[in-house]
Structures are given as structure tokens and as C-alpha cells.
């Protein structure tokens, strides 16, 4: 689960760094990824194609989300933007409930169900696949930001939007791009986690909160920090579920968030200039 939180956290960070919007709809994109890919798969599409289609649809939806409801009120006070993402996320959830009902969905394991044994430890193959793909996504984004011209333009907009505009970067297009990228990553992660977690339409908001927790623990300014934050949160949750009670699983992680925010609000790993990619 930790890797999933990390992906939500990265999506959250990407959007926040450029547009300053706290996107409460982030978890809904994961839910959509899971729901769309199961629907395509049930209708006879091969697994790979189903996931690809669901990611494309979610990405387009992310762009649509930005263009229709975020872009028109850009520059509004933070609370108005937060409320707007709430409105959007409720609508996505409502429409999803209308389409899919509230039952949990599932996909078959991607590469067979045989457990992997490494010197006595038994690993669930899908869990390994989740961790590996999260790692690949994180590395991919990291390389994209470091070594491509678009990635650098994106970083420039995040660091100083005004100066970036002076250098000929279209910062407003970067906002659109950030929503597309975050939705794309979210849907992909949502599809990958489906065989393990059996998502239903109501999971979005919980995932959003956990993702923010990961991002805030990580410090909001480094991808590796967010990944570490997500993994730490996942481990804490399992430990909490094991030692206290599984009913308190959600509460434990969030108490950690409150404690971190209270005592070290730039995040455990964050530097002085939190808020930058």
C-alpha cells in the first residue's frame, strides 16, 4: 500500500508545485483507473489494452477537470480552489457510483499468482509488481524533470512562475500538463493496485488523504522524499494494524500526519524551501 500512497503523493506534489492547488480529487483518479480497467477487461479487452485505455481516458479527464473548473478561477484564494476540487471530486464519485454501483472490483494478477520465494520469505507477485512499477514511475518522473527540456520548463514554472513566463515558458499550459500527468500516474497506479486491494467507488477520498500524508511527510519538495514518506506510511499502517487493531489502521496513519505537521511542518525530509519539486 505504501507505494500507492507514494504515487498519490507524487501526483499531489506535481499539481501543487505548479498551480498551488491542493487537489482533493487526486484519489478519484486512482479509483477511475481501477474501475475503468476492470470494466474494459470484463468486456473482453486484453489486460494491457484495458489499462492503457483507462489511463488515456483518465488523463483526458484530468485535463478536462483542469480546463473546466480549475483554470477559470485560477488566482482565487486557496480555500476557493480547495472547495472547487472537492466539488469536482464529489461529482466524479457520484457519476462513478451511477455507472458502477458500490461493489468492489477486481482484476486477475498480472503475471500469475505463484508466490515468489526469496530465501524463505514469501512474496505476493502482484505486490512485487506494484512496488517495482512505483519505483519505475518515480524514477521516470525524476529523469523527466532532470533531463528533458519540458521537464525543466515545468520545474522553472514551479520555482518562479513569473520569471518562467519571461523566459517564454507558457506557465498556464504547465498547469494543464500537471493535471494530465497526475491523472495519468494516478490511473496507472489505480489499475495496478486493483488485483490486490479490490477497490470500490468510495476509496478516492481516503487515498487522497493518505497521499497528502505521504507528500507532507516527504516534505513536498523531492520525489524521493515523497516515495520514502509513502513507504513509511504503509509500514506504519501495517504495524499499527498488527499491534493495536486493524480497525484503527486509518487513524494511526493520520495521527502521524498531525504529529508531523505540528512539530515539523516542512516534512521530515524536507528542506527549508518546501513546496518545490
Amino acid at each position: 500500500m505504501g507505494s500507492i500512497y507514494a504515487i498519490v503523493g507524487i501526483g499531489f506534489m506535481i499539481i501543487y508545485s505548479v498551480t498551488r492547488v491542493v487537489n482533493f480529487a487526486q484519489g478519484e483518479f486512482l479509483m477511475l483507473g481501477g474501475m475503468l480497467s476492470t470494466t474494459f477487461h470484463l468486456n473482453g479487452f486484453p489486460l494491457g489494452i484495458s489499462i492503457l485505455l483507462s489511463v488515456v481516458i483518465a488523463t483526458l479527464l484530468g485535463m478536462f477537470f483542469y480546463q473546466t473548473i480549475i483554470y477559470p478561477i485560477r488566482g482565487a484564494p486557496a480555500f476557493a480552489l480547495i472547495l472547487m476540487t472537492f466539488g469536482g471530486s464529489i461529482m466524479i464519485r457520484g457519476i462513478a457510483m451511477l455507472c458502477w454501483g458500490t461493489d468492489p472490483r477486481s482484476l486477475p494478477y498480472f503475471f500469475g499468482a505463484n508466490p515468489i520465494r526469496i530465501s524463505g520469505a514469501i512474496l505476493n507477485p502482484q505486490a512485487v509488481w506494484v512496488i517495482v512499477s512505483t519505483f519505475l514511475m518515480a524514477v521516470g518522473i525524476f529523469l523527466f524533470f532532470r533531463f528533458t527540456i519540458h521537464g525543466k520548463a515545468f520545474l522553472a514554472s514551479a520555482t518562479n512562475a513569473f520569471l518562467a513566463t519571461l523566459m517564454g515558458i507558457k506557465t498556464e499550459r504547465m498547469g494543464l500538463f500537471s493535471f494530465a500527468l497526475a491523472a495519468c500516474l494516478g490511473a496507472l497506479a489505480g489499475a495496478i493496485m486493483t488485483p490486490l486491494t479490490f477497490p470500490h467507488v468510495g476509496i478516492g477520498i481516503h487515498l487522497s488523504v493518505k497521499g497528502f500524508t505521504a507528500a507532507l511527510i516527504g516534505g513536498l519538495n523531492r520525489i524521493e522524499g515523497v516515495v520514502a514518506g509513502g513507504l513509511a506510511l504503509g509500514v506504519l499502517e501495517s504495524l499499527g494494524a498488527g499491534f493495536v487493531s486493524s480497525g484503527y489502521k486509518d487513524a494511526i496513519a493520520l495521527v502521524v500526519l498531525l504529529v508531523v505537521l505540528t512539530f515539523r511542518h516542512q516534512g521530515l525530509l524536507g528542506g527549508a524551501e518546501a513546496g518545490r519539486v
Binding site: V22, P77, I90, M91, G94, L254, L258, T262
Partner: protein, 343 residues
């Protein structure tokens, strides 16, 4: 606002409040149906919470996702103290208030020094934590089964037992809370908060340089909003005489935010109007939707709430209370007159 304008707005305000009192107290005479009284009670309870939230959003520029949780704290404090420890209902109600306020304080003091978004995330987390406790602490809260047999409130030996009694009790509290809030708005604290809020042309940095401490006032308002919610929760518990965790979840918190946004952030009348609109829309949908669409239940309602929120933010960011001004502006424009409309 010029000095000359103040007495006039005061007179207008007094008139509006009188009209409001007559309207609200006369409403039960028009109908004998308990269904409408129940709706009226719910509107009143939500209006109390929404008034606190309107202060928080409109004057401190902060979004709280934990109002339903504070509502729950009040309700559970009343329920547990009266049923398990035999407290007097009024005493239990009063004990709930500082409980909600101190939780708000513990969270608000460190967090409200930070940038705008943090409180929203933290209160969302808090809301989930508190809800989890309501469900999981079965020996104390009764889990999903809840707590029953909560005693009624009584005034000097007269036990408030019917929906009608509670209607008048709840709306008396709405009036008290409304007057209290409008005093806060027009007090030193209100002026200080206006000076930091972008809605009123304020600036946090300018205010700080004049010696206003934004964080302090934001925490105070956050605590006030928690007290309102807790009060409303206690009233709810004593009216219903039974509670379970259901009405204290995240979705209700979002609903409360929608009420304030629709009515008009920063407007006290807006909070009451918003509570009316949302409760009535909810009831309307519960009546209409099952007839129109086969098999659909809550989904359409949820989509409608989301749509309403988005449309209001897009086209009427100051809520329904700004509708007359907007309409005036539109009319002036279409009639070709050039006139500036003050928002």
C-alpha cells in the same frame, strides 16, 4: 464603509432580524405536520454549524473538514455523560463545548501559522480519526449500534419532549448564535480578521506590519466554530435521543462546506440560507429521484451537490446573498446604463 452608512445598515439589520424571528416563530403555526418540523429542526442545527464555518471561511480564509466531527463530539459527549454517568443534560451540553474547542485549539495553534492549505488536510485527517473512534470504541460509543435512551432537555421542570419544543429551542439558539457571530464580526477580532482576508481587500502582510497577529485570530475563530458545532451536536443528541456514527462522517462535513459556499462565504445570512437550500434540495431529491430514475438512490444527490458547488464557485463566488447585486449589475448592463455595482 463610511461612517454615515453605519446607522442605516444597523437599522436594516435590525429590520431583517425582526422579520426573520417573526417568520421562523410563525412557521409551525402554518403546518401541523411533524415532517416539516423535523426538516425545520435539521435546518436550524445545520445553520448553527454553518454560522461557525462561515466565520472560519469568510473571515479567517480557512477550510475545515472536521465540522461534522466536532458536531459528533458534542453529540457523543452529551450522550455518554447523561446515559453512563447520569449527568444533567444541560451540564453535559456545556461540558461538550470546551471539549470541542480544546481539540480545535490543539490542532489550530501549530497549524494556523502555516500556509492556507494545511488546515484543510489536517482537519480531513482529524475527521477520519474521530469517526474511527466513534465506530471502534465500542464499549464507550456503542460502535455502529450507537447510544440510545438519551434524556430530553428540560427547562425548570418542564421537559422538552415534542418536535415543536425542540423547534423553538433550536431556533432560539440559532438566533443567539447569529447575534453572537455578528457581534464577533463587528468587534475588534472581526476587524482584525477582515484586515487579513483577501475578500475584504485585506492583506496578511500589511496587517502583520500593523501589529495584527493573523494566527492568533484564526485560532480563536476556529475554536469558536468548533464550539458552535459541538453545541449543535448536543442539541441533536437530546432531540433524537439516539445517535450512531453515521451523521458525523466526512460527507456531512463536505455538505456543511457546500452550505456555506452556496449561501455566501463570509455572510452570516448566507450560512442560514445555505443550510435551508441544501436541506430542502436534499429532501426534494429524496422525494423526486426514486420516481424519475429507477434504482437510483444517493448518486444523483451527490452529483447534484457537487454540481451546485462547482457552479456557484464558477459563477457566483460570493454565494446566493450576492444574487441581488449581481442581478442589479446585469440589469444595469443590459439597460445600457454605466454604473458601478459594489459587491
Amino acid at each position: 464603509m463610511t461612517l454615515r452608512g453605519i446607522p442605516e445598515t444597523n437599522r436594516l439589520r435590525r429590520g431583517a432580524i425582526t422579520l426573520f424571528v417573526i417568520l421562523v416563530s410563525g412557521l409551525p403555526l402554518a403546518t401541523k405536520s411533524t415532517y416539516y418540523l423535523t426538516i425545520g429542526n435539521f435546518i436550524g442545527l445545520y445553520a448553527i454549524v454553518a454560522l461557525g464555518l462561515a466565520l472560519l471561511i469568510g473571515y479567517a480564509g480557512q477550510v475545515s473538514m472536521a465540522q461534522a466531527a466536532f458536531f459528533g463530539i458534542g453529540a457523543y459527549a452529551s450522550a455518554i455523560l447523561t446515559t453512563k454517568y447520569g449527568f444533567n443534560p444541560w451540564l453535559a451540553l456545556i461540558i461538550g463545548l470546551p471539549l470541542g474547542a480544546s481539540i480545535a485549539g490543539i490542532i489550530g495553534i501549530p497549524l494556523l501559522k502555516l500556509e492556507g492549505h494545511v488546515l484543510a488536510v489536517a482537519t480531513l485527517a482529524l475527521s477520519i480519526v474521530i469517526y474511527t473512534f466513534f465506530v471502534q470504541l465500542r464499549p464507550i460509543t456503542g460502535g455502529y449500534d450507537g447510544i440510545g435512551g438519551i434524556p430530553r432537555l428540560s427547562i425548570g421542570g418542564f421537559v422538552l419532549s415534542s418536535d415543536l419544543h425542540y423547534y423553538y429551542l433550536i431556533w432560539t439558539f440559532v438566533l443567539i448564535i447569529f447575534l453572537l457571530s455578528s457581534n464577533i464580526v463587528n468587534s475588534r477580532v472581526g476587524r482584525a480578521l477582515r484586515s487579513i482576508h483577501p475578500f475584504f481587500g485585506g492583506s496578511e502582510i500589511a496587517a502583520q506590519s500593523l501589529g495584527v497577529s493573523p494566527a492568533k485570530y484564526k485560532v480563536q475563530i476556529f475554536m469558536v466554530s468548533a464550539i458552535y458545532a459541538s453545541l449543535s451536536g448536543s442539541l441533536y443528541a437530546h432531540w433524537m435521543t439516539f445517535i450512531n456514527p453515521e451523521p458525523f462522517g466526512i460527507f456531512i462535513s463536505i455538505l456543511m462546506l457546500i452550505m456555506v459556499t452556496i449561501g455566501g462565504m463570509g455572510s452570516l445570512w448566507g450560512a442560514i440560507i445555505g443550510a435551508c437550500v441544501i436541506i430542502l434540495v436534499g429532501e426534494l431529491f429524496r422525494e423526486l429521484v426514486p420516481r424519475l430514475v429507477q434504482g437510483a438512490a444517493g448518486e444523483i444527490e451527490i452529483i447534484a451537490y457537487g454540481l451546485i458547488l462547482v457552479l456557484i464557485l464558477l459563477f457566483m463566488p460570493r454565494g446566493l446573498v450576492s444574487a441581488p447585486a449581481l442581478f442589479k449589475g446585469w440589469a444595469a448592463k443590459t439597460m445600457g446604463r454605466v454604473r458601478r455595482v459594489s459587491p
